[in-house]
């Protein structure tokens, strides 16, 4: 059971971080469907840092990896910003393109790096056994991961930012009624850029958190297995509200954790279901939940519509 709790919390952390990213972006008025790709890029940034940075200090390592993942995520999300805010491209299409490009580019890059250091190595894997340990504190068999704390702080931080600060008020105004925001002197383009970049940072964090969750080696061909989309489902189920998002993430995180840990739960083993069933669970749950709840969901009104000053 301890294992189930541990996996639930770490996968919840991933979903919370990425879903909060999506939530901020959508509150600014930009649908970020590219979270999947941004996660891959964040994971790549973090993994490359772990591969290259040979420090013995856990603190330094953790900070460096986080910084690298955030920078990679933000840089990649800037593509979304340029295309969708400045050039007013269709946000759904650009997001999808980012997802396709993310996994592919990461694979090519990692293969090239691996081959350069060892001509016989054509894999797209990065291994980080030693570095991963620095993220984990073992408390009586429970592997506490620093990302669990970061996720909690992120929920609190984003909630305060959205509902208590000037920045949050202006950000949400841009996602609801950009013309109104513009009419009181708020620069809609700037606020949307801020929303997209913040979502890139959180998406990148989520990406590195995901590959650190259970394994010490990541094969970049696999991308992040639809976790970016799962996070979007969490965001919708959480009604674009940070606290509700964290609860929704807990539900999805639990189902995802089951696939890693069901062998340790006698009742589930006795059901004698194939492991594929558990692997499918989070995705099936997301389909079911969204089918029943999306009708009443209330997305930011102006999301997905490029803002054009001249149309009033």
């Amino acid at each position: 059971m301890l294992l189930l709790l541990q996996y639930t919390l770490i996968f919840t952390s991933v979903l919370v971080l990425v879903a909060l990213g999506g939530c901020i972006s959508e509150h600014s008025g930009v649908i970020n469907l590219g979270l999947e790709g941004i996660m891959v890029m964040g994971a790549l940034g973090g993994a490359l840092m772990m591969r290259a940075f040979g420090t013995e200090s856990a603190l330094l390592m953790v900070l460096a990896v986080i910084l690298s993942a955030v920078v990679f995520g933000m840089a990649y999300s800037a593509l979304l910003g340029v295309a969708c805010i400045n050039f007013k491209a269709d946000q759904t299409l650009v997001g999808t393109a980012l997802n396709l490009l993310g996994t592919a580019a990461a694979t090519v890059l990692v293969k090239a790096i691996n081959t350069a250091s060892n001509p016989d190595n054509h894999s797209s894997e990065i291994e980080y056994v030693r570095a991963r340990k620095m993220f984990i504190v073992n408390i009586n068999g429970f592997e506490f991961n620093w990302f669990m704390l970061i996720a909690v702080l992120a929920v609190i931080g984003v909630a305060i930012m959205l509902y208590k600060t000037r920045f949050g008020l202006r950000l949400m105004a841009c996602g609801e009624h950009p013309q109104a925001a513009d009419s009181v002197g708020i620069n809609v383009y700037k606020m949307r850029w801020a929303g997209v970049l913040l979502s890139g940072a959180l998406g990148g964090l989520g990406g590195i958190c995901y590959i650190l969750a259970g394994v010490s080696l990541w094969k970049f061909e696999n991308g992040v297995a639809g976790f970016g989309f799962l996070a979007l489902a969490v965001m919708i189920f959480g009604q674009w509200n940070p606290v509700r998002i964290s609860l929704a993430a807990l539900l999805f995180g639990l189902f995802r954790a089951l696939s890693n840990t069901y062998v340790g739960i006698p009742f589930l083993v006795s059901l004698n279901l194939p492991s594929n069933v558990y692997n499918m669970m989070p995705y099936i749950v997301s389909l079911v939940v969204l089918a029943f709840t999306s009708k009443t969901s209330r997305a930011p009104k102006a999301e997905g519509i490029p803002y054009d000053k001249s149309t009033r």
């Binding site: 008020l169 609801e176 009624h177 109104a180 009181v184």
Partner: protein, 511 residues
């Protein structure tokens, strides 16, 4: 030398092909209410866009308190103390009143909102000017009148001295309109200068001190409202004498064409039914008007009648045939025509050409589609040309004009041409004159009366009081989804109508 709060002198603004503002001068005195009158397309919005720095004029200057100023963007206008209540409110619906008021000028400490002092200031302002609104209510939960007060408070919170109201009464009930008039007078008495953009002449006569008139981009003149008449103003605005009163003979009702029994329609926004057990009849040769304040179930009533939404219960009979469950195409073929409330959403495919829009409901008929299933373009073109000619639909390129590029009045004329030319037995017209100018309104009213005189049944749904009083032969008032009164336009008054519309009065109505 008179003291002017703001002056726009000899403003000329050209767009490719047209001169939107041709040497226009507008001088707003301190503490006066100044009306700006003109039809749609007369150049009012362009002039305001120049004032707000959205456009730079080719010629002319703007003076504030006698000194020339440069306005490059809306922020400059704000800094000069110019505020505007837009026709379509610029309010974030899921925010509170207070959040909307402070947005853009939020009091903060280290980036955190300090709403306490803002709430105090808003309360003080709303008491001073009689603008009652709950600062913590969400915009989506309050009435349109309160939303407008929020917009006014937005300007006052910013200490604006020059307040512009763009068509502020279009969305209000009669009672709310008289409240607004009082508020505007209060504001002027406190020294604010008010510019009141409108094409409703009686309101201008009531509230404004002076009135400047624009027509087709040109400045016609400025008059003191005390020294002029409605007729004179309208002649200045339109360039000819307009007949406000709809000329019509007494109606000669014939057989019942439309018979609605106990119709109930669900609401999309709340759990209660939007239309509750409505029964009514419309006869051949009469115009029946459903009056009411926006949002009292009129839209859902029409959706249910036209088949856009299913009925919860009830029965609809057209010419003796039960059409409760027939498809929309069948209803159309059986003789129902519908001029929809939202002409962009339900009336036209905006990115289609005018000719394709003309055959939206008849494209499958043999004259437009041959046996192989191909459209007969030549016939369609001829048909469209005939309608364009007959109904005077004006557009840039005739039948191949993309309808999005046409003016609202001509889009509406295109719909009317299509719907009337089907020779319906029943014509449903929902707010057919919304947003149109005086000339177009006159034309549409004439068409409705002509249909009546040709022996058709006409069901008009309107929010405009003048239209409700003038056009129909019978008025049914709808309040919260029920018919609460039947009035005779010849004997009732606007005040009585207003009481029914506000739910203050009701009578039993049997269909």
């Amino acid at each position: 030398m008179e003291e002017y709060a703001i002056e726009m002198l000899h403003i000329t603004k050209r767009f490719p092909g047209i001169i939107a503002n041709d040497d226009i001068t507008l001088q707003l005195r301190k503490g006066e209410i100044h009306a700006l009158l003109g039809e749609n397309g007369a150049g009012k919005s362009t002039l305001m866009s120049v004032l707000f720095g959205l456009y730079q004029p080719e010629e002319g200057i703007i003076k504030k308190d006698g000194k020339a100023v440069k306005v490059n963007n809306p922020n400059d206008a704000n800094a000069l103390g110019i505020g505007m209540v837009h026709q379509h409110f610029k309010l974030v619906e899921c925010f509170t009143v207070l959040d909307n008021i402070i947005m853009g000028v939020e009091p903060t400490h280290l980036g955190f909102l300090q709403k306490g002092e803002a709430r105090q200031k808003v309360k003080m302002l709303s008491e001073k000017y009689g603008l009652y609104v709950d600062p913590d209510a969400r915009i989506e939960d309050i009435t349109v009148g309160m939303q407008q007060r929020t917009e006014i408070l937005k300007m006052l919170y910013r200490d604006n001295e020059i307040l512009i109201f763009d068509e502020p009464t279009a969305v209000l009930t009669p009672q709310e309109i008289s409240e607004l008039m009082q508020i505007m007078k209060n504001l002027a008495a406190e020294g604010k200068s008010i510019l009141f953009i409108s094409h409703k002449l009686n309101e201008i006569m009531e509230v404004a001190d002076r009135c400047s008139v624009l027509r087709k981009g040109k400045y016609i003149g400025t008059v003191n409202t005390a020294d002029t008449t409605i007729e004179e103003l309208s002649a200045m605005m339109v360039g000819r004498n307009v007949n406000f009163h709809v000329e019509k003979k007494p109606s000669v009702p014939g057989d019942v064409i439309l018979d609605i029994e106990h119709m109930t329609v669900a609401s999309k926004v709340h759990k209660n039914n939007a239309v509750k057990d409505v029964s009514l009849k419309v006869r051949a040769g009469e115009i029946v008007c459903i009056a009411g304040i926006d949002g009292n179930g009129q839209s859902e009533f029409v959706y249910g009648l036209s088949g856009l939404e299913p009925l919860v219960s009830g029965k609809i009979t057209l010419d003796g045939k039960d059409i409760t469950k027939t498809s929309i195409r069948q209803k159309s073929l059986l003789g129902m025509s519908h001029i929809p409330e939202d002409r962009h959403k339900h009336g036209l495919v905006l990115d289609y050409t005018l000719e394709d829009n003309m055959i939206l409901q008849t494209y499958f008929k043999p004259e437009f589609t041959n046996k192989a299933g191909f459209l007969r373009r030549k016939n369609i073109r001829e048909y469209a040309n005939r309608l364009i000619e007959q109904y005077d639909v004006r557009s840039g390129q005739g039948p191949i004009t993309i309808t999005r590029s046409m003016s609202g009045g001509n889009q509406q004329k295109a719909i009317i041409a299509r719907e009337i030319d089907k020779q319906p037995d029943l014509l449903i017209a929902v707010q057919p004159t919304r947003g149109l100018d005086v000339g177009a309104i006159e034309y549409i009213h004439k068409q409705l009366v002509a249909q009546r005189d040709a022996g058709k049944a006409v069901l008009l749904v309107s929010l405009e009081l003048d239209e409700v009083m003038d056009v129909p032969d019978r008025i049914l008032v709808m309040y919260e989804g029920e018919i609460v009164g039947e009035l005779d336009p010849k004997t009732t008054t606007q005040e009585e109508l207003g009481l029914y519309m506000a739910g203050a009065k009701r009578m039993e109505v049997t269909a």
